[in-house]
């Protein structure tokens, strides 16, 4: 009996261990980053990264992880930053804020990293914001929520565009269309809650009436119930705010229950996978987004065009999948860190942190960054372009 008991427990422990310790495509540190022990003029810079490589936000975290590894490899190939090679330590949070927190503590206390790139989602970022501030570790978040940089924490920055700016662009477009009565649905997670709050806050400024606001679980598999509720309120447009795969369901379910009004998505929609999953129903969806998805059709004089095309080509030729704006956020985070270290001429956290606050005109994938001591995002609403879906492809939205 004893032996059997042990065997059963063993099976279980193995299973649990595999789940817990990030056997999930655990990203290896790229080999070239390890400088040979014989000649070390400058110690390598340790940079941590926490991405939602798995879990509901995997559509964000996976391209971020790939982008970070690719970019760090490029940096090291070019001789590192100011003579320092970069060692990237990537951790998978599984999209869970609690996990992100323990990983952050590990990176700060044990690995003693200079900076943390990520996490992918707003909920996870908020979970580690204070820890990074107290640990004097620079946090360059890849998540969107305004609350990450407002209230301000001196060590905390973020690269994606502000969600208030996304809300403003959506309302401007609605106003142009002559629509004032909208229904809002959002996923009940950090990103969804923050977006819904911004929409509610800015509605009076644009003369919008939110007839009904509802939330749904991030793992939802059918949304016809909640959309029926919106239909009952006779809304003239639907705004859905989420980064979860459920956003593909919204388009489908709206068509299926005959709710024929314009659908607006947040900037969390910027992944062609969601369009593919939505199929025919996704056509006509309008959403604010960074310019990565329409890089090819930007005018040649646009300041971002070169950066966007290079990132897109590098990513797509290396990973054989479409680049998404989320990967771009990780690119921007590392770019900003690189520029700040160069400018500071030092790898002391305090000096690098202060240097970020003085960076001006850094052209990234999300826009042109202009940081100040009070603006830790550095982007304004012009960083967004309104996009739409035509025949299953992203296109620039033009007023009809």
């Amino acid at each position: 009996m004893g032996a059997r008991c042990v065997r059963i427990l063993g099976t279980l422990v193995i299973a649990l261990a595999l789940n817990g310790t990030g056997c999930k495509k655990a990203p290896e540190t790229p080999a070239p980053t390890k400088a040979p022990a014989t000649q070390t003029p400058a110690a390598p810079i340790k940079v941590g990264a926490i991405f939602a490589v798995t879990g509901p936000a995997a559509n964000l975290g996976a391209p971020e992880q790939k982008t970070a590894e690719m970019f760090v490899e490029q940096i090291n190939k070019e001789g590192g930053i100011a003579g320092h090679k970069v060692t990237l330590i990537v951790k998978d949070s599984g999209s869970v804020p609690g996990t992100a927190l323990s990983l952050a503590k590990q990176l700060i206390d044990e690995e003693k990293v200079l900076a943390i790139i990520g996490p992918s989602t707003s909920g996870e970022t908020m979970a580690i914001k204070d820890t990074c501030q107290e640990g004097k570790t620079i946090l360059l978040s890849c998540a969107a929520a305004e609350t990450i940089v407002n209230p301000l924490a001196s060590y905390v920055f973020k690269t994606p565009q502000k969600d208030s700016d996304a809300a403003r662009r959506i309302y401007e477009t609605l106003k142009d269309m002559g629509i004032t009565k909208v229904g809002v649905i959002s996923s009940s997670d950090g990103f969804g809650n923050a977006g819904a709050a911004q929409l509610a806050k800015l509605a009076p400024e644009y003369g919008m009436t939110i007839a009904i606001a509802e939330t749904y679980a991030a793992t939802e598999t059918d949304l016809t119930g909640v959309l029926t509720k919106l239909k009952g309120q006779d809304v003239k447009a639907v705004i859905d705010w989420t980064i979860t795969p459920a956003q593909s369901l919204v388009a489908k379910n709206m068509k299926q229950i005959g709710l024929d009004v314009p659908l607006f998505q947040s900037h969390g929609f910027g992944n062609i996978k969601y369009v593919e999953a939505g199929g025919e129903a996704a056509n006509g969806t309008i959403f604010p987004c960074g310019r990565l998805l329409v890089a090819e059709v930007l005018p040649g004089t646009h300041p971002q065009k070169q950066v966007l095309l290079k990132y897109k080509q590098d990513y797509e030729s290396r990973y054989k999948e479409d680049a998404s704006t989320f990967g771009g956020h990780a690119y921007d985070a590392i770019l900003i860190l690189r520029e700040a270290i160069k400018k500071a001429g030092s790898v002391e956290p305090e000096k690098v942190r202060a240097a970020i606050e003085t960076l001006q005109g850094v052209v990234g994938t999300g826009g042109v960054f202009n940081f100040t001591a009070t603006d830790h995002n550095g982007l304004n609403k012009d960083a967004f372009e309104m996009l739409t879906v035509e025949n299953g492809k992203f296109a620039v939205y033009t007023k009809k």
Binding site: R4, R7, I8, T11, L12, I14, A15, L16, L18, N19, C23, K24, K25, V53, T54, G55, P56, A58, N59, G61, A62, S188, E214, T215, Y216, A217, T219, T221, D222, T224, G225, V226, T228, K229, K231, G232, P245, S248, L249, A251, K252, K255, Q256, I257, G258, K273, Y274, A277, G278, G279, E280, A281, A282
Partner: protein
């Protein structure tokens, strides 16, 4: 609330309920034969759907689904032989715990074999915008596929368990394994067979709901929780009751959404499960005496 809107909520409830029902049926097969609740049932669904999605790149949809069901059936058998058979004399509770471990293993394996992205099968009829209209309300034709396949599965299982020798042998094992052995039934193969059957049916269910729910490697557990709730609600081991219970829970959720903030919807299933466990642990559709006999 006007009439078309009420019908619309009803249809929404049926859509969701049909998904719960088809998941619940898989739980019942293994329970009927072994008394085990297989917590890896949700993963069987996703494995089946994932295989079908991969095969659909090269073969027609129907063939992809048939092959996916066959492969998953074999997989179900192998899993039983490798992981559960060595612990065959352990208590039911321990076997259940093993299935929880299995669900995690399968989920992680899927992440490695496929990826973290959302996949989906095409709608069997029409596209993502097709609707059927009744009484001014609309629903997707795929819902009829889900309901139709659930009905066929339940009818098929009823015939199999009642009228075929193999089906009766499987039930005999559940009732009294010693007696079944004395009658010459190979009880170990019956258990293996039940895992194969429920894996195959899970795979079919996973394929049919894939256009509606989409398929992602970690979707199995939330689906299984709802399916489990429904199986308990209907009375474990009773597939017909599971379908009715599934539709009931779906409708209940839809009308809760209509009256309260939709955030409360998730609580409904849990509250229902708790109430049933406390007040009527044998399920809604099983007479108490029978439940008592089974428990003994």
């Amino acid at each position: 609330m006007n009439f078309p809107l009420i019908v619309q909520y009803g249809l929404s409830g049926i859509t969701v309920g049909s998904i719960y029902a088809i998941v619940a049926v898989g739980f019942n097969i293994i329970y009927s034969t072994t008394g085990i609740i297989n917590f890896a049932q949700g993963e069987f669904l996703i494995v089946g759907a994932m295989i079908a999605i991969s095969l659909y790149q090269i073969v027609p949809l129907w063939l992809a689904i048939v092959l996916a069901v066959i492969v998953t059936t074999i997989l179900g058998g192998l899993i039983e032989i490798v992981f559960l058979r060595p612990a065959r004399d352990a208590s039911v509770l321990r076997l259940i715990v093993i299935t929880i471990g299995l669900s995690i293993l399968i989920r992680e394996a899927m992440l490695h074999i496929w990826d973290e992205k959302v996949h989906f099968l095409p709608y069997f009829t029409g596209t993502s915008t097709s609707t059927i209209t009744i009484f001014g309300a609309h629903f997707s034709p795929q819902v009829l596929w889900v309901l139709g396949v659930s009905t066929v599965i339940v009818a098929g299982l009823t015939v199999f368990f009642r009228f075929t020798l193999l089906g009766r042998a499987m039930r005999a094992c559940a009732d009294d394994r010693m007696a079944a052995c004395l009658c010459g039934i190979n009880d170990r193969w019956m258990v293996t067979l039940s895992f194969m059957l429920s894996a195959g049916i899970g795979a079919l269910a996973g394929c049919v709901i894939s256009p509606v729910t989409q398929t992602q490697y970690d979707m199995g557990a939330p689906l299984a929780i709802k399916g489990f709730t429904v199986a308990i609600l209907g009375g474990l081991g009773n597939s017909m009751a599971a379908v009715i219970a599934g539709l009931l829970l779906g409708l209940l959720e839809a009308f809760v959404v209509s009256q309260f903030a939709s955030a409360y919807k998730e609580a409904v299933a849990i509250v229902v499960l708790l109430l049933v466990l406390v007040i009527r642990p044998t399920g809604l559709f099983v007479r108490r005496e029978i439940g008592a006999l089974r428990a003994a």
